[in-house]
């Protein structure tokens, strides 16, 4: 991790090697640390060969869905004569996730380099990096780094003398979680409301400005230069669990641990080691109650599920949840699960773009019902009603924000039903929902 704590010996430090090292932010500092070798190497390769190398590495999208990156790149049409776009998703707004911010703050050139390689590989001359509006410091660091990259020939009309044109343009968001969804993000760049689009058409066919587009997360693209330099076999070898999950993953750990922060683990690391060894475990006298391992949109895990979980895409699914963005929210025995689930529902109700009825109504009604349970006004039927609403909110809408609101509700009622019952029976004193 390197920031704010020194890296733990159990981490595998690849992307986070220079977190906390302000010297790595400048072009000169970055090249002195081996930077831009990956881009130089890629420029000497055929675009298809880069795609094959990334495919062979096993790299999967770090934005949430875990889709194989090389495969996604290979969907881009060839020889169609149209402009192509690469879009980098730096909207990072999934509660619990704060890794892309650190990549941009400390190693902006790693991202620029990854964007340039990705753009070259998919036949794009322009890459837009969409940075959420609230990320003022990453914006400033990235702005300075992009200017330096142009000044040094790493971007522009003749990148490192290769004759290739690669532009990187920063685009600032303006406050909307939904703009992290890839098609909403494209609408937002186009100067529209951030409403997700119905798919198909998929972005590789008609994405940004209706042209073939690939969209990737910050962490995904930042890993690419390393794969170029050290090779796909090295990356693939970083694997302790399932061979389908390779490389390192930044896990943002927050909530009730002694040392919250970003931890870079080899895929397949036991979650127990992450929570207890790297993060220092719970506060004195507290015990683990629950973990949401992949940002707030994935199922809640019980302590037992978390303690026996292998941290990779397959391992977390086997333990009843999903790795998602790797934003890990840790909750100890002082946590009121009903309150936390209400607060998550409130988040989704606030962030729904309101296009779909099931989402607009569902997020708002589940929040209200959870609120009345907390206030001691709930009835036994409310739990069934919540599950029923959640069912209607799942798999029925344009994007999965609606499903994401239902997920903690369903897993929460299933795994922590007693806490809901305590409010319903009056065994637990009502609390007021909200500040």
């Amino acid at each position: 991790m390197g920031y704010p704590h020194p890296s733990h010996p159990k981490e595998t430090v690849v992307l986070s090697q220079y977190f906390g090292d302000a010297g790595a932010r400048s072009y000169e500092g970055w090249t002195r640390r081996g930077g831009y070798e990956g881009l130089r190497k890629a420029l000497g390769m055929a675009p298809d060969a880069i795609v094959e190398e990334v495919k062979a590495s096993g790299l999967r999208g770090r934005g949430g869905a875990g889709f194989p990156t090389g495969l996604k790149w290979s969907f881009m049409p060839k020889g169609d004569g149209k402009p192509h776009y690469l879009v980098c998703n730096a909207d990072e707004s999934e509660p619990g996730t704060f890794k892309d911010r650190e990549i941009m703050r400390w190693t902006p050139h790693a991202l620029i380099e990854g964007c340039a390689i990705g753009a070259f590989a998919i036949g794009a001359e322009v890459c837009y990096i969409y940075i959420r509006g609230e990320f003022t410091e990453p914006w400033n660091v990235m702005t300075a780094a992009v200017a330096e990259a142009y000044a040094n020939g790493a971007l522009g009309t003749n990148v490192f003398g290769s004759g290739k044109r690669i532009e990187v343009i920063l685009h600032r968001g303006a406050g909307a979680y939904i703009c992290g969804e890839e098609t909403a993000l494209m609408n937002s760049i186009e100067g529209r409301r951030g409403n997700p689009r119905i798919k198909p058409p998929f972005p590789a066919v008609a994405g940004l400005f209706a042209l073939p587009t690939t969209i990737n997360n910050v962490e995904t693209l930042a890993a690419v230069p390393q794969i170029m330099v050290r090779g796909s076999a090295w990356y693939k070898g970083l694997c302790l669990g399932n061979p389908k999950s390779t490389g390192t993953k930044l896990i943002s750990v927050c909530g009730h641990v002694q040392r919250p922060g970003n931890y870079e683990i080899t895929m397949g690391t036991p979650m127990k080691e992450l929570i207890y060894d790297m993060c220092g475990g719970m506060l004195p006298g507290r015990t683990l109650k629950a973990v949401i391992p992949g940002g707030s949109s994935v199922p809640i895990m019980t302590a037992e599920e978390a303690e026996s979980c292998v941290t990779d895409y397959e391992g977390v699914v086997a333990a009843g949840s999903m790795l998602g963005s790797g934003g890990m929210i840790v909750m100890d025995d002082t946590t009121d699960m009903v309150y936390q689930i209400w607060r998550l529902a409130k988040f989704y109700a606030h962030e729904s773009c309101a296009q779909c009825t099931q989402c607009r109504e569902g997020t708002s009604w589940t929040t209200r019902i959870l609120g009345r349970i907390l206030e001691g006004q709930g009835t036994q039927e409310d739990l069934d009603l919540l599950l029923d609403l959640s069912h209607n909110m799942t798999g029925t809408t344009i994007c999965v924000l609606s499903d994401s609101c239902a997920t903690p509700i369903v897993s929460g009622i299933r795994k922590f039903r007693g806490e809901f019952e305590a409010y319903l029976s009056g065994a637990r004193a009502p609390v007021l929902a909200g500040v």
């Binding site: 532009e167 406050g175 951030g194």
Partner: protein
């Protein structure tokens, strides 16, 4: 995203409208036209320029933006109101967004928010303090959950690890 601000102290005098897009600001906007295949794509950047210049997005500016980007004012307004960082009402001299989403909430964000509301004299969310100095709103996850509680001041200063104990000292930096 922040909750929309419904009240505030007017900073914009009723006097004649001084256009935002002239001179250097217009040149900056025109330079952006090079970076996108459509003028419409310059809408979010143009609105940021307005907010930087005026602190919020007045009706007249919506008309101006529509004109330079060849859009209708109704379209521009539709976009402005979608994005919660754009203010459609004047706000206090310092605009403070406090994260209270679950991860920060687990670590005491609500206490921090209460302390900030008290210290600023705002009392309530979304209102401006009687001296016009502060407006405080809740914001959903700021993407810094490991440093509870982060706050964003004036769309510019991102401050981590704010607590009820250090809140007053931080606010003192904003006269």
């Amino acid at each position: 995203m922040t909750d929309r601000v419904e009240q505030g102290t007017a900073r914009e005098p009723a006097a004649a409208w001084e256009p935002v897009f002239q001179g250097e600001t217009l040149a900056r906007l025109k330079a952006l036209f090079e970076k996108y295949p459509t003028k419409r794509a310059c809408l979010l950047p143009a609105l940021w320029m307005v907010q930087e210049a005026r602190g919020w997005i007045p009706e007249q500016a919506i008309g101006e933006v529509a004109e330079v980007l060849e859009l209708t004012p109704a379209y521009v307004k539709g976009v402005v109101t979608f994005y919660t960082m754009y203010h459609t009402h004047p706000v206090g001299r310092h605009f403070i967004q406090v994260c209270t989403t679950s991860p920060c909430g687990l670590c005491g964000a609500e206490d921090t928010l209460r302390a900030i509301l008290r210290e600023t004299g705002c009392g309530e969310l979304g209102t401006t303090s009687p001296d016009g100095r502060f407006t405080v709103v809740e914001v959903e996850c700021l993407g810094a959950c490991g440093f509870p509680t982060p706050i964003l001041v004036d769309d510019a200063d991102f401050i981590e690890s704010v607590t009820p104990a250090n809140a007053a000292g931080i606010l003192a930096r904003y006269p």
